[in-house]
């Protein structure tokens, strides 16, 4: 068994409009490693995350997450792998608005037996694990039963982080989760997210164009350094 959380080889991806966006020969993220991925707007960062999370099928090449292929021919297997192993946080609108914070956090458990099993192995009921995670991300308990639509953006992002972490998936991908936050809450958010990811021994792939945040991560990757697409030969 290899020791990688994400392993990419010979990946190429084009969109109908802009044409070829990604051409990555080799790229690997180790288990438990935290990686900061930078790149200008439109360079294909979100596209890459979509491919890694198995939402966008791979066109050419190969992506493995926790040693399992994101097989373009098997959408259900990709859904399974994502449900079990990938926690995701986006820039905005991460939550189901009519569910409470705690319900949003528990959501992945509804779709993954593996993550349910992981929670029960910890000896905690799903409810208590959600409470624990929300607490660890600095959300006071009076907020837990509030509907997501009523939370501030900063609170919403922390709920999203707790949800990504529940059931200890092997990989957390975060697509500019801090860009809507002010500087203070951004720092707290980052600290809490990386602490919890480390505790779970989850790999963290963090995308942002704010390069000042890079120092908090083990590894800094500029997409343009691994991506040959668009670069004149």
């Amino acid at each position: 068994m290899k020791n990688s959380a994400v392993s990419i080889s010979g990946l190429r991806h084009s969109w109908p409009g802009p044409g070829e966006i990604l051409a990555i020969d080799e790229f690997e993220i180790m288990r438990g490693e935290s990686v900061f991925l930078a790149g200008p707007s439109g360079s294909g960062k979100s596209t890459l995350l979509g491919l890694i999370a198995g939402v966008t099928p791979v066109q050419t090449g190969k992506i493995e997450v926790l040693d399992q292929a994101m097989d373009p021919a098997k959408p259900q297997a990709r859904d399974r792998l994502r449900a079990d192993q990938v926690g995701m946080v986006f820039q905005l609108f991460n939550l189901v608005p009519y569910l409470t914070a705690a319900e949003n956090v528990r959501l992945p458990l509804a779709f993954s037996a593996q993550r349910r099993a992981d929670v029960s192995a910890s000896g905690l009921a799903p409810k208590d694990e959600a409470t624990r995670l929300l607490g660890a991300l600095g959300l006071a308990s009076n907020i837990h039963d509030q509907r997501a639509a009523e939370l501030s953006v900063g609170q919403q992002q922390r709920v999203a982080a707790a949800r990504a972490l529940i059931g200890a998936p092997g990989l957390i991908v975060a697509d500019e989760p801090t860009s809507a936050l002010d500087e203070d809450s951004r720092d707290t958010f980052l600290d809490l997210l990386s602490n919890e990811a480390r505790r779970n021994e989850a790999a963290l792939l963090f995308v942002s164009h704010e390069q000042s945040l890079a120092s908090r991560f083990e590894r800094f990757v500029d997409l343009q350094s691994i991506n040959r697409a668009g670069v004149p030969a």
């Binding site: 939402v55 995701m88 609108f93 779709f111």
Partner: protein, 417 residues
């Protein structure tokens, strides 16, 4: 089925409060209308089919069963011929006959038919679930020139006990010849039954004879005589007779016997059979009603489809979020189908309860006023409507569900809105 999805669907419905409530209302009204129409129709059918009950056979002159039923029970149309008093007595004494009540028609009072009969009529005539006639005021006639009114007659004409009335020869609304010199006194008024009895004026057979003494065809006598001698007032013929048998097993043989009477051409019909035949003719409107209320039900279901489809665009992000947390496209599909069936099921349930409530409120009024029996607890019809509507709601939900699932696949997990 993922129980969490059911919970999510439920919360999503609650979240969309007003719009969900309006959709439910549409389904509720449609279901209520449908069930009410069914209820009323069933009530009309039963009350029609039990316009006369407890009578096993109706005897009249040879003719069609429906025609006999129409003039003897519904007091519509005219008999082709009469039944002789000898035949009536012969039948009344035939083995197996428990009782026989003759009726004599042909006169009227201000458009209401006069029924000449015996006082036994008031004990033997049954309607609905074997309900007897009862007197709201007064009593049955005991001698000539006494009259018992059906409830409608008394109410419409504003008559009460003691009112003096005249009868008219013939049955036109505006009759040409009055039975002058024969003042009748109202002696009794019946309770409403919802049957043609309500629109009948009842007198004794002797009264009928008495007012016709001296009549020659349609011409009134010069000097009306008032005879009270019983022998002189014995009728020569009656229009029809209601017969009760000692046992239901005698009915068929008695009917055959009367139909093949060697002395007079008679018809014997079983009122139940004739009523069913008649209903088949006049009950066609039933289907039209049912079709219209089924259409309304369809419109109610389409409102589910509209509500869910119009909400889809603003819910794209929500669906993408569910996908990101591990939901498969099939889960997104089930979520919307669950919401649709939830709307339908709640609407159906409320509609069923509303119908029950309405029935409970108006039933006794309908019973006393129109003789319509609407009572009854929800049964297989309601159960069937509940499941059909829920299932149809789910089916309607597959369209927006399919759309949402397609969106979810093409939207990916982009941050775009």
């Amino acid at each position: 089925m993922n129980l969490v999805l059911v919970a999510i669907a439920w919360k999503s419905l609650i979240n969309r409060g007003m719009s969900a409530a309006l959709t439910i209302l549409a389904v509720t009204l449609a279901v209520t209308l449908f069930l009410s129409v069914e209820r009323i129709q069933a009530g009309v059918r039963t009350s029609f089919n039990s316009t006369i009950s407890g009578t096993d056979i109706i005897v009249g002159a040879r003719g069609g069963a429906i025609n006999l039923l129409l003039y003897s029970v519904f007091r519509l149309g005219d008999p082709t011929a009469n039944v002789s008093w000898e035949s009536f007595e012969r039948i009344a004494q035939a083995p197996g006959v428990d009782w026989a009540v003759p009726i004599s028609l042909g006169d009227s009072h201000r458009g209401y038919r006069v029924v000449g009969t015996t006082p036994e009529y008031f004990q033997r005539y049954r309607y609905g679930r074997d309900l007897p006639l009862s007197f709201r005021q007064g009593r049955a006639f005991e001698r000539t020139h006494e009259v018992v009114l059906g409830s409608d007659v008394a109410r419409r004409l504003d008559y009460e006990i003691g009112t003096q009335i005249l009868l008219s020869h013939g049955v036109g609304a505006v009759s040409f010849a009055e039975h002058g010199g024969h003042d009748f006194a109202v002696i009794g008024v019946l309770e409403p039954t919802g049957t043609p009895v309500d629109r009948s004026v009842h007198v004794s057979l002797e009264s009928i004879e008495a007012i016709h003494i001296g009549w020659d065809g349609g011409i009134a006598p010069r000097n009306p005589t008032i005879a009270t001698d019983d022998d002189a007032l014995r009728p020569e013929s009656v229009t029809a007779a209601f017969i009760g048998t000692v046992s239901p097993m005698r009915v068929l043989s008695l009917q055959r016997q009367i139909n093949s009477d060697p002395d007079e051409a008679l018809s014997a019909v079983m009122p139940g059979v004739a009523l069913t035949q008649l209903w088949q003719i006049i009950g066609v409107g039933e289907q039209a009603f049912r079709a219209v209320s089924a259409l309304v039900l369809l419109v109610g279901l389409i409102s589910i489809l509209t509500a869910l489809t119009s909400g889809l665009n603003e819910r794209r992000r929500e669906m993408a979020v569910l996908r990101a947390t591990g939901a498969r496209p099939a889960d997104v599909f089930s979520l919307l189908v669950l919401e649709a069936s939830g709307l339908a099921a709640i609407g159906a349930l409320v509609g069923i309860l509303l119908t029950q409530l309405a029935v409970a409120i108006v039933a006794s009024l309908m019973q006393s006023r129109f003789g319509l029996d609407l009572h009854g607890s929800p049964g297989s019809l309601e159960l069937g409507v509940f499941f059909t509507v829920t299932f149809a709601g789910a089916a309607a939900g597959t369209l927006p569900a399919w759309q949402a699932q397609r969106n979810v696949l093409s939207d990916g997990l982009t941050n775009k809105l």
